[in-house]
């Protein structure tokens, strides 16, 4: 490197840096190449540096292609920087907040900048990553306001049903909690994952570390990957102000098809007070008997769900000078759900600042206060009540408005005062949560001499979550219809206090050993504590029907749970680079965890990764190959027991049915502890390539990985006869392997018009390698289906994760030994019984699998002058889900296919001896045309009891988002003396969906755990949203 350090007569060069739209660019680094002299452009894009002729000025800014310009005679030097969609973030933030050059990394990472994150307004940081990260499977649990979303990177790494397979969220170097507890009656109500508290407008960039070598320094909590979030900081120069507002509407994007031919009654007989909503006669026949019957049936789904709204307003002010930077923001997000009486609000206030106290010492601090919460409803309850609701009545007419019964529920069987209305249920049966959270950190950085950097960070993430579930009691008025779940009135108050404290010290030393070799050494100490405390009190049976207060209840029960865990880690890193093109990094970390047995709670795990920029070595490389890198890594990751107190047995005063009066009942724990619990250990290998082609117009990133997680700590289900229900021990191994491809291309680039395309593809093969000897399988979750059609997700050794099991139609095998006892073979003919109906097989068999075969996202962005248009398509293929909503619909004659209920057919299949079936049967209820008694009919007797009928292909293709934006041109902005930028964007999310799944949007999930194969009644419908956003920069 040339050193142009000579003092010629003092000269300074100044100028203005703008982007391609002639907008000024504040915050651009302007450095004299080869020196440490430089500055940052101010708010209007201007700069001044003491440079002289012959110097090279380097202009660099995140998100823009860097430029180097030589200083000539002129003292004014302007520069135009163009957007660099491809070479984004030359410098990336990796583990522990350490900034590394991307070229030196031996593992895959993926970065997103603020623009990409905010292309479509999202309320949850996890859903903002949807479709953008190769290898990440992100599922919105449903469209409830504030509802959680789940992210899994590179497959599920744990056999344990309750295990947290999600990556660690780190904000400004400090891990934060992403819990989503369902305590206090909130299960099924769309609990929020706590990372959703992050205000996306405060985010500068997100870097996704996919596990293995990337997270080796982070230790156990990042065994499933890490999402590094860097928030905006104040920059040197004039103060910058941003204001953005969004307003949007949401609607349900998909509802099941329902029949509208048959109305209330049973076996074709009309009865307007019937419990059965649609087993009666046709609408025409009913109208002859009942003049009050409407001309057409209501579609319950269209009537029950409404249009929701969301709005967001954000203001931030930041600034600074050469020594300090300051950023502050305030925002409010509010959403009203598509389900009546649901809402969510989040208010966030943030400040952060950094000060250089001297040349060597700087301090940074930040504090973010967030308040969030809303009224949540139980999706399963709501959807189930909709199933029962007779469509001849309008479900949106949910309460009486006048008369003695004003304000009470209007049931669908009014003459007998029964028939739960789900909307009335939402109005009265409430669950409201209110979270106050403070995320703060303080950091010190000391650079005693060149090459040595000492950083200490202290972080705090504490929240208290106050939840109230309540319902009023009956009023006691004659003829009052009671909503079943309200019982006699109840209130349940839950208070959760959670606190995470992190303390991290890292010392880095870099030195150029000689011309060819650079050395980096790091050592650090990390301490972490999580404490959690929950108290719940429930009062039932109100004296005064509408006094929602514990003092009004006659039966009080309470429970408490306390938990604390601590972790200490020591780590080191050794890095060597050769001529800036060959990189070797070796790390080692040792952890001590409080959740492992005393005396055996230490575990160690190393990693090594190599990066080789081979294009620098090729003499005459083709002109289209700008950059090519090969990556390889091997890492071990240790993991402790995520649950506390698993190494000893304690008895609890929580026996079922107690307390009775003032007597408590004690019981042994249902989980048997393993006194010799060991840590889990995962081994991960990764290979990859990065290419930049055609003058950086095309970027390609390929990665292949395989990881084996051994000694999995899980609660192995054991025979109840042993005296316990589960045994938490080391048992089992799970393997994940797959391919990730990320492709970016600037297809057209002209001064006025540009077209960028990106595609990311991933597949993950997931296999349960082994389970502890003596255990056949592990049950991870289930969903109810009528009459034996319940589905469950179970893990078997040698089989993939995510299998869905249930009952099926019996298949014919000439040789019974041919039948696979575990896997259903749908190609075989169905056995038809003597009664002419298909026979059910009760053996639980694998019917489908909820893990997609591959995921692909393709996005396009067009920009013409001041207008840009972007859209992306998301594909997820090759997986199934169990639809319990359709199961209920078939039992109640609501599904569209039940319109054939009065037909007589011959079922396709063979009889018990293999002969083709010829018996005609009536599908309806009661006495058929042949005089036989068909009882409850085919759909209730047979169809609804077979799981196979409801495990559906859930693959999809969707138009995930569309955005259109317009920025006011510079000429107009100049007229206002104050505005630096003004952009208006219109966005649409989930505008189009193509899927064979018959229920709601198949992305939704009943469970927030690892059993995501259920998308039926218990799930919120997915949403289609339209929004408009205005952004102003002053």
């Amino acid at each position: 490197m040339l050193c142009t350090c000579g003092f010629a007569y003092a000269q300074s060069v100044s100028g203005k840096v703008t982007d391609e739209q002639k907008m000024p660019l504040p915050g651009v680094n302007v450095t004299i190449k080869g020196t440490s002299t430089g500055t940052i452009t101010s708010a209007d894009g201007t700069y001044t540096v003491p440079a002289k002729k012959g110097d090279m000025l380097e202009f660099s800014f995140i998100g823009m292609q860097p430029r180097t310009v030589s200083v000539g005679n002129a003292t004014i030097l302007n520069a135009t920087l163009s957007e660099d969609v491809l070479n984004l973030n030359e410098v990336v933030v990796t583990a522990l907040g350490i900034q590394r050059e991307k070229r030196s990394l031996g593992y895959a990472t993926q970065e997103l900048d603020s623009k990409q994150i905010l292309d479509v307004p999202r309320s949850n940081i996890v859903t903002a990553l949807q479709g953008k990260v190769a290898g990440a499977q992100i599922s919105s649990q449903g469209g409830a306001p504030g509802q959680g979303a789940r992210i899994i990177i590179r497959g599920i790494n744990s056999l344990s049903p309750g295990a947290n397979n999600e990556p660690l969220f780190i904000v400004d170097g400090v891990p934060i909690s992403n819990d989503s507890f369902t305590a206090g009656g909130s299960s099924g109500r769309g609990a929020t994952n706590r990372a959703a508290d992050i205000n996306l407008e405060d985010v500068e960039s997100i870097n996704v570390l996919k596990g293995g070598a990337a997270t080796a320094l982070y230790g156990v909590r990042a065994a499933n990957g890490a999402i590094i979030v860097t928030t905006k900081k104040g920059k040197n120069g004039k103060a910058v102000f941003n204001l953005s507002t969004t307003y949007g509407v949401d609607e349900v994007n998909k509802t099941p098809e329902v029949q509208n031919v048959y109305t209330q009654g049973y076996a074709g007989v009309y009865d307007k007070n019937s419990f059965w909503p649609t087993w009666g006669p046709t609408v025409a026949e009913a109208r002859k008997l009942d003049p009050d019957h409407p001309a057409a049936l209501f579609d319950n789904f269209k009537q029950a769900y409404k249009t929701g709204t969301q709005s967001n307003i954000h203001f931030d002010a930041s600034g600074g000078n050469e020594k300090t930077g300051f950023y502050s923001s305030v925002s409010r997000f509010a959403q009203e759900g598509v389900v009546p009486f649901t809402d969510f609000e989040r208010i966030s206030a943030k400040i952060n600042g950094n000060i250089n106290l001297s040349d060597k010492f700087s301090v940074m601090a930040s504090a973010n206060f967030i308040n969030s919460g809303g009224n949540r409803v139980d999706a399963s309850d709501f959807n189930t009540r909709l199933v029962y609701w007779a469509p001849q009545k309008d479900v949106a007419d949910f309460e009486y408005s006048e008369g003695a019964l004003a304000g009470t529920m209007k049931p669908y069987r009014p003459e007998i005062s029964t028939g739960n209305n789900p909307i009335y249920g939402n109005k009265t049966n409430k669950f409201i949560d209110n979270v106050n959270r403070l995320i703060g950190n303080v950091g010190f950085n000391y650079k005693p001499f060149a090459g040595l950097d000492v950083t200490y960070r202290f972080g705090l993430d504490t929240y208290n979550d106050s939840r109230r579930a309540s319902a009023p009691g009956p009023r006691g008025i004659e003829g009052e219809a009671i909503y079943e779940n309200n019982g006699l009135g109840f209130i349940e108050e839950t208070r959760i206090n959670s606190r995470d404290v992190t303390s991290n010290l890292v010392i880095s030393y870099t030195k150029a050993l000689n011309d060819d070799f650079d050395l980096t050494l790091r050592a650090g100490v990390d301490a972490f504590e999580r404490s959690y405390d929950r108290v719940s009190t429930r009062g039932e049976n109100f004296e005064v029907w509408d006094f929602i207060h514990l003092s009004n209840a006659s039966l009080i029960t309470t429970s408490q749970l306390i938990s604390k865990r601590r972790l200490v880690g020591v780590y080191g890193e050794f890095g060597l680079s050769f001529r800036d093109l060959l990189f070797l990094t070796i790390t080692d970390r040792n952890d001590w965890s409080s959740t492992l047995p005393k005396g055996n709670n230490s575990f160690n795990y190393p990693s090594v990764n190599v990066g080789y920029v081979f294009t620098d070595m090729i003499e005459n490389r083709p002109s289209w190959l700008d950059y090519g890198k090969f990556r390889a890594s091997y890492a071990q990751i240790g993991k402790d027991a995520i649950g506390t107190y698993l190494t000893s047995d304690v008895y609890r005063a929580t026996a079922s049915g107690f307390p009775i009066g003032d007597v408590t009942g004690w019981t042994r724990p249902s989980n048997k502890a393993d006194l010799n619990l060991l840590n889990e250990s995962t081994q991960a290998i990764e290979f990859g390539f990065e290419f930049k082609l055609f003058k950086n117009r095309v970027g390609l990133d390929l990665a292949w990985y395989q990881s084996n997680a051994r000694n999995q700590i899980l609660g192995v289900p054991i025979s109840a006869a042993s005296g316990y229900d589960r045994y938490t021990t080391n048992a089992g191994e799970i393997q994940n392997s797959g391919l990730e491809v990320l492709l970016n291309a600037t297809i057209i680039e002209t001064p006025d018009f540009r077209w960028n395309a990106t595609a990311n593809f991933s597949n993950n093969r997931n296999k349960v390698v082994s389970i502890k000897e003596g255990i056949e399988s592990i049950f991870i979750g289930g969903d109810y289906g009528y009459a034996g059609s319940s589905a469950s997700q179970v893990l078997y050794p040698g089989y993939a994760y995510g299998n869905i099991l249930g009952t099926s139609y019996k298949r014919y095998y000439a040789n019974p030994d041919d039948e696979n006892p575990l896997i259903l073979d749908k190609s075989r003919p169905v056995v038809i019984g003597e009664n002419g109906f298909p026979v059910r097989s009760n053996t639980q068999k694998i019917i489908g699998n909820s893990i997609p075969k591959f995921m692909l996202n393709i996005g396009n962005q067009f920009s013409y002058k001041n207008v840009s248009l972007g859209f992306n398509f998301d594909f997820r293929q090759g997986f199934q889900k169990f639809n319990s909503l359709d199961n209920f619909h078939s039992a109640f004659g609501i599904s569209k296919y039940t319109e054939n209920r009065n037909e007589t057919i011959v079922f396709e299949g063979v009889t018990a001896d293999g002969q083709p079936n010829t018996k005609e049967v009536f599908l309806g209820q009661g006495t058929g045309p042949d005089g036989k008694n068909y009882g409850a009919g085919f759909y209730r007797n047979v169809y609804r009891g077979v799981t196979e009928n409801f495990v559906e292909d859930a693959s999809w293709v969707r138009l995930q988002s569309v955005n259109l934006s317009y920025s006011l041109p510079a000429s107009i902005l100049a007229k206002t003396s104050v505005l630096n930028r003004a952009t208006l964007s219109l966005t649409g999310t989930n505008l189009w969906l193509m899927t064979p799944y018959s229920g709601f949007d198949p992305e939704v999930s009943v469970s927030s755990g690892n059993d995501d194969g259920f998308a039926g009644r218990g799930a919120y419908p997915g949403l289609r949203s339209y929004a408009a956003t205005l952004r102003l920069t002053f």
């Binding site: 009654g265 049973y266 419990f275 200490v568 005063a653 026996a655 007597v663 408590t664 042994r668 042993s722």
Partner: protein
């Protein structure tokens, strides 16, 4: 470099001294390593009673006490239902009782140990009579995660041994903790009552062997004579957190979460249709239809009409004797003991003793249910009931015992011993076992997935050893 060295030394120093203490937070604060004996007693007594309810809520369909309002409901039509919850509850409480006995023996609390034995016998008896072979010798103490199944005969031997040892311990002078009143939900700390219950159970299980060669009627009579002398001795739960679980069924039903519908078989036995005399217990158990009649639901047929609008069948009500908020949950009763005595006496040929016991069994149950003395007398002297000692048959005894132990799982044992020959008792409509009666529960799903290597090969019609 000096600074780095200092920092490193400081870190390591701080480290070694405080690391161990800092990480020593894994003692669970949500419980205790030694539970109070009376806490285990409260749990053991209450939940043994609750288990009688849990098992009864399945067996009542097989004995046609209850019927499902849905046509062809699996439990009605002898479909294989998974009873993982029942199995789990039985073994769960046996684990707690086992621990209670273990802790009690450390302090020579003999009465606790005696009670533990009696409770173990009750629960093990329910397991053996429903499932046949089941784990015991390798169970309860985590000896293995896949305990082997002991044979039913062995289990019956264990039950008698447990009861005998229990009686011995209960009769000893206590050295450790005495039985407390408030935490004993069955007998309120009354040791003598426990001894009587132990004898009644001995009689009950000895009587189960009526179809086998080893049946010893005199042993049954000997045990029964040391058992109960009046309804006041009954082993039952009378305190609940909210209400008797059958009351919850009735309350749920009233709120249209249907359940507790009474079977035609039981209703006809009391409304005069089967025996020609109306049993005054009927109106104490449930309420009539608006028409004043009592009509039950045929098992397997489901509700007639559509189940709404005017009521067409009777069900458990929140003011019925068995299903009110504070109704007793009966584990063993004086009425039952009288019928055991009647049956055993009959089998020895002592018809007089049998007849007296039979009438006392009926009358004591009338008293228990709250029938007025006049109605009780009228019923007792009706021709269907007052057949006279000479004309007394096992049919009379079983038919009347059936009514007296409504909802109890013991009735299913009787039904199988009597080959379901109650008057007018038929297989349910839409039944799945080719016209045969059900003889056992299948092993639960949890055992099939967690202990499949040990499960015997049985079907729902494989009879238990005392049913052959």
């Amino acid at each position: 470099m000096k600074i780095t060295k200092y920092i490193l030394m400081l870190s390591v120093g701080l480290f070694l001294s405080s690391c161990e203490d800092y990480l020593d937070v894994n003692v669970n604060p949500n419980g205790a390593t030694r539970p109070p004996l009376r806490g285990l007693l409260a749990n053991a007594t209450y939940n043994t009673g609750d288990n009688v309810y849990t098992l009864g809520s399945t067996t009542s369909f097989y004995t046609q006490y209850l019927a499902s309002p849905n046509q062809a409901s699996p439990v009605d039509v002898y479909d294989r239902v998974s009873t993982s919850g029942t199995w789990g509850s039985l073994y769960d409480i046996m684990g707690d009782i086992y621990d209670m006995k273990r802790f009690a023996s450390e302090s020579n609390s003999f009465h606790y140990m005696g009670v533990a034995n009696v409770l173990l016998a009750i629960n093990l008896g329910m397991v053996a009579d429903s499932y046949g072979d089941a784990p015991y010798s390798e169970a309860l103490d985590f000896q293995t995660i896949v305990p082997k199944y002991d044979s039913q005969e062995q289990l019956y031997g264990v039950i008698q041994t447990l009861l005998d040892e229990g009686i011995v311990n209960l009769n000893r002078a206590n050295e450790g903790e005495p039985l407390p009143r408030a935490n004993d939900f069955i007998h309120e700390g009354n040791v003598k009552a426990w001894v009587k219950t132990a004898y009644l159970l001995k009689a009950r299980y000895l009587n189960h062997l009526s179809k086998t060669a080893s049946y010893d009627a005199s042993a049954v009579l000997a045990a029964v004579s040391q058992a109960y002398t009046s309804n006041a001795d009954d082993a039952q739960i009378t305190q609940f957190q909210q209400r008797n679980p059958w009351a919850q069924v009735a309350l749920n039903n009233a709120n249209l979460f249907l359940g507790g519908w009474i079977s035609e078989q039981f209703i006809d036995a009391l409304n005069g249709k089967t025996f020609g005399v109306v049993d005054p217990r009927l109106s104490k158990i449930t309420n009539p239809l608006p028409s004043g009649n009592f009509v039950g639901t045929a098992n397997g047929a489901g509700r007639t009409g559509d189940g709404a609008g005017a009521q067409t069948a009777v069900y458990l009500t929140t003011n019925g004797f068995y299903s009110s908020t504070n109704s007793p949950l009966i584990i063993a009763s004086y009425s039952e003991s009288k019928f055991i005595e009647a049956e055993a006496a009959f089998r020895t040929g002592n018809k007089d003793r049998a007849y007296t016991a039979y009438l006392e069994g009926i009358g004591s149950n009338h008293d228990k249910v709250g029938v007025a003395a006049a109605d009780k007398a009228t019923f007792a002297s009706s021709t269907a009931i007052a057949v006279g000692a000479d004309k007394l048959t096992l049919q009379n005894i079983f038919d009347q015992k059936y009514v007296a132990i409504f909802l109890h799982p013991e009735a299913w044992v009787d039904a199988r011993r009597f080959d379901y020959k109650y008057k007018d008792f038929t297989v349910p409509e839409n039944s799945l076992l080719d016209g045969q009666f059900i003889r056992r529960l299948d092993y639960p799903d949890t055992e099939r997935t967690r202990n499949s290597g040990n499960i015997p090969n049985v079907t729902l019609t494989t009879p238990l050893f005392w049913d052959k």
